[in-house]
Symmetry: C2
Subunit: 354 residues, 2 copies
């Protein structure tokens, strides 16, 4: 093994995903060193409620995890001049790569979009799990990254438990994707499975999902299809070259779905699923939609129950393939970001031949 | 767009897959030029029954396809000194990359293994669809390729209709694969589906499969599990670092499966599938098997009907993901080889960070 390489990273956002990423970096330190000759050093962590910490010599991640878990601030781990806010954090950090998981609105991608822009402008690689910036500003962010000669990756934005971005980027070069269908929202799929299998109404299923922490207190974005619409816009834009906003997708949710309808379709051997779809039209444009659809049980998408997600590709070269995730969570999302990091270091953001 | 790059390729084997690859190169010439700045020139084609053709200035692929389809030799397309055999063809060709699809025994990987060795030794990139050489000599071939600074890829060796090699290589860096399960043989899955759904015996189902060209006249390698065993050895060796031969996998086939058993399991809500499996043991070794298993219908693998194939990964980072192919054929196998070509040109055979 040649000399070890050092990579300095900063974590912007230290919630469920950020902390899972911190744990993964600790757990995989040996593998990174032995298999990739790589030492990853966390030199900055920025949070909303626990302050900021910067240390060019490396922040002890274990101590940071413990501090946040016990409700303590990160400031004792900070070295140097005080940092006032996230912009100050980004200006002060010496990281080569930013992991961006800050709380962000999916209706305009802010404030994440401005943080990513600042980091790329500074010449940092950026890996984000935030959907908004990718849905609204993919082209701009890609151009900026290319201009600066850095990587911008977002594997975890669609299906945090399965690698869809790298699958298309690496496994389907020069293919034309004609149609993508998927189930991209766990909450609604859980509710639909529950209405069907447990014979409970939408309200009952939603309530149960909230009880066990699958649905949020305000489940609007999920059940009205907006989370799915944002992901569908990403899929259409990244995989099919479209320029759609989530508003263009104009989602239909599952709020008004009657138990009677679900059970009637079940009696006909069909299952209702909230299907995300992007289809290339004969005129070359891409039409995207999110709506409940009654699928025959023979359809691979109808087989997806509970919180599982799925994506189904129709292309001109592989015809049809389907990828299913079975157990997504903050830890799989963190792994998507971790894989993005390694893939940037392996030059996978360069897709041209040479 | 910068200046166009030229890539000279040779096709060793011009059967169903080789010809589909020729057609794909013709169909994608515009995409390669416009999106990758690449011009791929076929400078050699070697066949068993239609002779050999070499032309450093480029062989007209359309004419070669027409010649072979109408039973004519390729020799009128040949320029230069006559070529006596495949070894002579490999010595004489000026190709940068060899597409290897020659008829090869899966019991020892020959003669493909010696052709690949010769091409790599000569400093050519090699892309093969032949399972034998990968099952028997992965490590040696990889080392030779690395020594010579060229790529050796074999996407199409397992599941010719879905990208499993690049999925692991690119999408799961630094992950530990704990278990792989799959259905890797279309003929046996078709027979099993048929016994179950059409209530016909093994012999009847096999006969029907032979009638429509799904099963070969001598179906031994498929129904006795050897085709599955070779693929399982590849999966265990490539994904889990094992050193297993197909003999180590010691497959159990479906020849002796009674219709009564299939229907009895179906009555219990189960489906019998020929399951390929590789599992990491507590002591670090990998145990691989091929055998009929009765799976509950809730298992994603039980849902795979007809000629479809599937692979299912359990890892320490993504937990579980499943990839299904729906319509594999010579054209999808050809695309796997085509993607390998582009991925070698994109440096994807280099998996280290830099």
């Amino acid at each position: 093994m040649a000399e070890l390489k050092n990579l300095n990273v900063a974590l912007l956002g230290f919630g469920n995903v950020g902390r899972a990423l911190g744990e993964l970096l600790l757990r995989k330190a040996g593998t990174l060193r032995d298999e990739y000759g790589l030492v990853v050093r966390v030199v900055g962590i920025s949070t909303g409620r626990h302050g900021h910490a910067i240390n060019p010599a490396g922040i002890p991640v274990k101590a940071a995890l413990e501090a946040v878990r016990s409700g303590q601030p990160l400031t004792p781990l900070h070295h140097g001049a005080p940092v006032a806010d996230t912009a100050g954090f980004l200006a002060a950090t010496s990281a080569d790569l930013l992991f961006e998981t800050s709380p962000t609105s999916i209706t305009d991608g802010q404030p994440s979009l401005s943080y990513i822009t600042a980091a790329l402008t500074k010449g940092m690689h950026v890996v984000t799990a935030n959907k908004g910036p990718v849905a609204f500003a993919l082209r701009t962010l890609r151009m900026l990254a290319e201009q600066k000669g850095v990587g911008f990756m977002h594997e975890a934005t669609v299906m945090g438990g399965a690698p869809v971005m790298s699958l298309v980027r690496e496994s389907m070069p020069a293919a034309t994707i004609r149609r993508v269908r998927g189930i991209f929202n766990s909450t609604t799929n859980y509710i639909l499975s529950s209405m069907e299998q447990d014979n409970v109404t939408f309200e009952q299923a939603l309530h149960a999902a909230q009880e066990i922490g699958i649905a949020e207190t305000d489940p609007t974005l999920d059940i009205d299809g907006w989370d799915s619409a944002v992901k569908t816009a990403i899929v259409a834009n990244v995989f099919m070259g479209a320029s759609l906003t989530p508003q263009d997708v104009n989602p239909v949710g599952i709020r008004d779905l009657a138990l009677e309808t679900v059970q009637q379709r079940a009696g006909e051997g069909k299952r209702i699923r909230l299907i995300c779809e992007a289809v290339r039209q004969p005129d070359g444009t891409v039409r995207a939609s999110v709506a409940p659809q009654a699928l025959p049980q023979s359809d691979a998408l109808a087989q997806i129950v509970g919180r599982n997600n799925v994506i189904d590709f129709e292309t001109d070269t592989l015809h049809r393939i389907t990828l299913i995730e079975h157990s997504a969570g903050p830890d799989t999302t963190a792994y998507g970001m971790f894989a993005d990091m390694l893939n940037i270091l392996r030059g996978r953001h360069h897709t041209a031949v040479h």
